[in-house]
């Protein structure tokens, strides 16, 4: 059983290497964009910085997209969870009834 768990972990690790291809398969093949975004079209400094990242370093752009999405997902999950607690509903238990 323990050996199987190690094997499973190894397989999961190896499988992760395939994931980029997998996701492309799920959403249609994406070729590298040749579009360059224009920072002059906006006055916002944050937007200018973001556009610069997009134009100059696609890898870091991808990394930041993932980090920001993850961060916002976790933060909003936490905040809305706090808000839901104030409703007075019991959010820890539920009974499973199929029919």
């Amino acid at each position: 059983m323990i050996r199987f768990r190690y094997l499973l972990m190894l397989l999961c690790g190896g499988a992760c290497l395939l994931l980029p291809d997998v996701v492309m398969a799920a959403g249609g093949k994406a070729t590298a964009l040749i579009v360059v975004s224009d920072p002059r079209a906006t006055d916002s400094n944050i937007a200018k910085w973001w556009i610069d990242y997009y134009n100059t370093d696609p890898f870091m752009f991808g990394v930041w997209c993932t980090i920001l999405t993850g961060f916002l997902g976790v933060s909003l999950g936490f905040i809305t969870d706090r808000l839901m607690r104030h409703t007075g509903l019991d959010l820890t238990k539920r009974t499973i009834v199929e029919h």
């Binding site: 499973l8 799920a26 509903l89 539920r94 199929e98």
Partner: protein, 342 residues
């Protein structure tokens, strides 16, 4: 009305942001209730708002990743996520999707890709819908006959036969209450993965019924576990589409605000819904998806979009109704109990 439009710096277009908020909210509600990403609903919506298709797909995936985190977080607190089962299934899903993608490439090389994929998609959706509705019919008959188990009357129990396969290693998935060969979830996820890769979808639409009918998960746990898988694949999708410059993160932020609220409503609504209520609404969503694909095949693009968005709106209202009705009943009962105790 200029303030209602937001500049998207990467795509270089102005977008009606309340529309983004609304799409995020609706898909959050539906995804949290059914346990799926819902790319089939978001992509046409973003396209209507003015996003080029390339940005619509990438932005959609990033939003799904964030939204699934909120839903998984909430489902996890209800005890609806079987992490062990989810991780076991990731292996089969990944290998399966890769195989599905290879089949697509082969079909592409012989020039038969378009119609084959669409009609297989329609066939699979029709089978799922048929399975869901006939299962409901069978469960209703069983209930009338008084044949009820610990969770109430259930229709198809194919998983019981599959659980008799004792190929080692055997695994116990405590949260789902299943004891079976590890190869069963791996094989099932592989098959759903092949189909997902072949059809070019995330796979939640296929995995949720597979978890229920073939692995034997109670509906609520199937929903939570599926969302956990959607979260993992969504994060990788965000990275790869980000590297290819296909994500408009500003839009993702706006959508996530709507989705976070929607996901809480959809997830909490599962507390007040019976398993078969979820399955039937899911079956109707599948029928709407199938109808829109058939319309697209015959070039009725506008009708297809209206069908999808109409179904999304109706299902969203239905789920919100379940949530608010259930919540007000619970609060009323709580108040009455407090009064009695005092």
């Amino acid at each position: 009305m200029e303030w209602m439009y937001m500049y998207m710096p990467i795509a270089g277009i102005d977008i009606f942001w309340p529309g983004l908020l609304l799409i995020g909210f609706s898909v959050g509600v539906i995804g949290g209730f059914f346990g799926m990403g819902g790319a089939w609903m978001v992509t046409p919506g973003l396209n209507i708002l003015g996003f080029p298709m390339a940005f619509a797909i990438g932005t959609d995936i990033a939003h799904i990743a964030g939204k699934s985190m909120v839903s998984t977080f909430r489902h996890s607190k209800f005890g609806n996520v079987d992490y062990k089962l989810g991780i076991t299934m990731v292996v089969g899903t990944v290998v399966g999707i890769e195989c599905g993608a290879q089949i697509v490439m082969w079909l592409e090389s012989i020039g038969r890709i378009g119609p084959v994929v669409r009609w297989v998609y329609v066939g699979v959706l029709a089978l799922i819908a048929l399975m869901v509705f006939s299962d409901y019919y069978k469960a209703t008959r069983k209930k009338k006959a008084g044949i009820v188990d610990e969770h109430g009357a259930v229709g198809f129990t194919w998983y019981k036969t599959l659980h008799k396969i004792k190929i080692p290693p055997m695994m116990h998935f405590h949260q789902a209450g299943i004891y079976c060969s590890a190869w069963l979830p791996i094989f099932v996820s592989f098959v759903t993965g092949v189909l997902a890769g072949f059809l070019g979808i995330g796979g939640g639409l296929l995995r949720m019924p597979a978890l229920v009918y073939l692995i034997g998960c109670p509906t609520h746990i199937a929903v939570g576990t599926d969302l956990f898988e959607v979260m993992i694949s969504g994060l990788y999708g965000t990275f790869t589409y980000g590297v290819k410059g296909r994500i408009e993160i500003w839009a993702v932020f706006v959508m996530l605000f709507g989705a976070a609220i929607g996901a809480q409503i959809g997830t909490v609504a599962t507390k007040y819904a019976k398993g078969y209520g979820i399955r039937i609404a899911f079956g109707l969503a599948v029928v709407a998806c199938m109808a829109s694909i058939i319309m697209k095949q015959f070039k009725f693009d506008a009708a297809a979009t209206v069908t999808i968005l109409g179904a999304v709106g109706a299902i969203c209202v239905y789920i919100c109704g379940i949530m608010f009705k259930g919540a007000s009943n619970e609060l009323r009962e709580k108040k009455a109990a407090d009064k009695l105790a005092a």
